[in-house]
């Protein structure tokens, strides 16, 4: 009698890269890296937002006691550092990572492993910077950076860095300088990747005159980072030499020059403002045409005005330094260049308005945020032009007027642009639609909150309230305006809670998005939602600026009528 012996089946052990966690840690897929950037950026947004709420709670009433002066310095410094380096930059890099290769018909970024390295540096850089709260310094407070996101010398030097007279040896500035160096390496890795990807991996037929405007703005941003980062890297390096090897680059008492720091920092810092806003310009330039059912108006002008902004952004840095006593000729130069940069910016705004004008406008959440972006950014641009006028700048320099200006640009502008991008591309990334109803609630709460928070700051600035103070007496006429601003901040926080609820509910039980929920124009929508790991089995061939529109409408394809 024959017996059947079952041979044990050979079970291969799963490799680390095949486990769930391993697949994320070892990934080089630009889409996964993009999602990790965005999720990390959003967590940083929550941290920076909570720091903002602490600031606004402290300033809601005069003589506040929520935070002491030492902790307040750390909180406002980390708020700025977190929002700029850990929220806005990574989130925009995340959108670029996810969307740009799909938009240009590429299978991945040019250097996938360097791309992954750039992300991990951001994550660990964020942890490193925030770990500073856990280190108690010789002044009895934590070692979080405490000299502002610009970290002016000589306050960053060993003898002043503790913020307490006679106490030395604090490492607050070291955390900041090393963190910035680390994030700078990440940005350079990411920028090189974007430049090579966009210049070398475009689908056949996708000429520079046909690449989507988000890709254009990402390319310009990448160049700005490559040219702007060296100066802040050099500055941080010199600061570390001053602090640890006894050099005197920034110490006037030993023949150094504190203003050198300001020049080095702001020759990075002002291009940085455009690094933070240009990708948002790109997002808006994608959303407006789709929700107006028209091609973008003035594609060439929008693209080349972005290039003009990029060039001019390197000529305006000393408008941050009018009050230091620059000679009149330098003041005239920087006032003129700052005013000039308003021209290409206005060109963009005219083109966006002309795109919407006469279109079949659909006021879905992405479109609302895009329109909100234009309105808020316009306010930020106009009060920025006011700050370019030197005598006016003298009056309001380092007051809440400047805080109002930068938040209208970076919150009213960039953050609205980021949310337009979230609502627009979330279906592509997850396969689910975000609830439009909750999106509308979030938009109106944010619009009210932003204006309630930041508009009164114009008046506070003109009344003379200095920025970076941890409290104020009750007899200066600041009380009601500060309370309004604080109420507005909590309304913004409510809007963000609505967004988080929307994301969770939509991921669990949201409507299936399908491949093309918005009837869009560009190639990323010509893939499944979410796209396969290789993006395109066959590389598409492009013959116009709206390749997916052409595919869906072969009879009226752009390439049959348009010359580009």
């Amino acid at each position: 009698m024959a017996t059947i012996v079952e041979r044990p089946s050979v079970v291969r052990r799963r490799r680390f890269g095949e486990t769930y966690i391993g697949s994320w840690i070892m990934t080089t897929d630009h889409k996964k890296i993009g999602i990790m950037y965005i999720v990390t950026g959003f967590f940083a947004f929550l941290v920076g937002g909570m720091e903002a709420l602490l600031i606004r709670t402290q300033l809601a009433i005069p003589n506040g006691h929520v935070l002491g002066p030492e902790v307040y310095n750390e909180v406002f410094t980390m708020h700025g550092t977190t929002m700029i380096f850990l929220f806005v930059m990574p989130t925009l890099a995340g959108f670029g990572n996810y969307i740009v290769p799909l938009m240009i018909g590429a299978r991945d970024m040019a250097f996938p492993r360097i791309n992954a390295f750039g992300y991990w540096l951001v994550l660990f850089g964020a942890l490193f910077l925030n770990a500073s709260f856990l280190f108690i310094g010789p002044n009895g407070f934590s070692s979080a950076p405490n000299g502002g996101w610009f970290y002016y010398a000589p306050l960053s030097e060993q003898q002043f860095g503790c913020g307490v007279a006679g106490v030395v040896g604090c490492v607050n500035a070291d955390f900041w300088a090393l963190g910035i160096l680390m994030l700078g390496i990440s940005s350079i890795a990411g920028s090189l990747n974007f430049v090579v990807t966009i210049l070398r991996l475009r689908a056949p037929g996708m000429t520079m005159n046909r690449i989507p405007l988000f890709t254009w703005m990402t390319l310009i941003t990448a160049f700005l980072l490559l040219f702007a980062l060296p100066s802040v890297t050099a500055a941080a390096g010199l600061l570390l030499l001053d602090r640890h090897l006894g050099t005197h680059f920034f110490q006037a008492a030993f023949g150094g020059d504190p203003l050198l720091w300001q020049h080095l920092f702001w020759s990075f810092g002002h291009p940085e403002v455009y690094i933070l806003i240009l990708p948002a310009f790109g997002i808006i330039s994608e959303v407006l045409p789709v929700f107006s059912r028209k091609p973008i108006f003035g594609y060439t002008f929008i693209a080349w005005s972005g290039v003009a902004i990029g060039f001019l952004s390197f000529t305006v840095w000393a408008h941050h330094m009018f009050a230091v006593g620059l000679p009149p000729i330098a003041q005239a130069f920087f006032a003129t260049s700052t005013t000039l940069i308003a021209i290409p910016t206005a060109v963009k705004i005219f083109n966006w308005v002309a795109t919407v004008y006469g279109g079949k406008v659909s006021l879905k959440a992405p479109m609302l945020f895009a329109l909100g972006f234009i309105a808020m950014f316009l306010i930020g641009g106009l009060n920025g032009a006011a700050l370019a006028v030197v005598p006016f700048d003298y009056q309001v320099t380092d007051t809440y007027f400047v805080v109002s200006h930068l938040h209208y640009v970076l919150f009213g502008g960039t953050v609205f642009g980021i949310f337009a991008g979230f609502y627009y591309w979330f279906p592509k990334m997850t396969g689910k639609l975000l609830s439009d109803g909750w999106g509308q609630v979030q938009f109106w709460l944010m619009l009210i909150g932003v204006n309630l928070t930041f508009f009164p700051m114009h008046i506070l600035g003109i009344l003379g309230m200095p920025r970076r103070i941890y409290t104020y007496p009750g007899n200066l006429g600041y009380n009601e305006l500060n309370l309004m601003a604080s109420v507005g901040a909590f309304i913004i926080a409510l809007a963000i809670l609505v967004f988080m609820y929307n994301v969770i509910v939509s991921l669990r039980s949201g409507k299936e998005a399908g491949t093309d929920p918005w009837d869009a124009f560009t190639l990323e929508w010509d893939t499944p939602s979410p796209p396969k790991v290789y993006n395109f089995l066959s590389i598409p061939v492009v013959r116009s600026r709206r390749p997916f529109y052409d595919k869906k409408n072969p009879d009226i394809a752009d390439w049959k009528t348009a010359t580009h």
Binding site: T28, T527, L537, S538, P540
Partner: protein
């Protein structure tokens, strides 16, 4: 109309990667092979190098020995990255 359904219709021109002839089984096999070939390969070294850099920076703050460990780790990660087979 998704990319998989009709990739060739983007501009009415033929697709760049023509499908190989053959039965459906061999077709799906060749597609799988091509999918693997065009998908990005995983690597742990970017993660390791980033961690090594953080150790180095923390060492800069807290103690030279940790700094030295960080330097060794960074060097090891760079070598590992360079030697990785692609």
């Amino acid at each position: 109309m998704s990319e998989e359904q009709d990739q060739s219709q983007v501009s009415g021109q033929p697709q760049r990667t023509p499908a190989k002839a053959g039965g459906s089984k061999s077709k799906s096999k060749s597609r799988e092979a091509r999918e693997q070939a065009i998908s990005p390969q995983q690597s742990v070294w970017p993660f390791v190098l980033a961690i090594a850099l953080v150790v180095l920076l923390i060492g800069f703050i807290i103690h030279p020995i940790v700094l030295g460990i960080g330097v060794v780790l960074v060097a090891a990660a760079i070598i590992g990255w360079g030697l990785e087979r692609r």
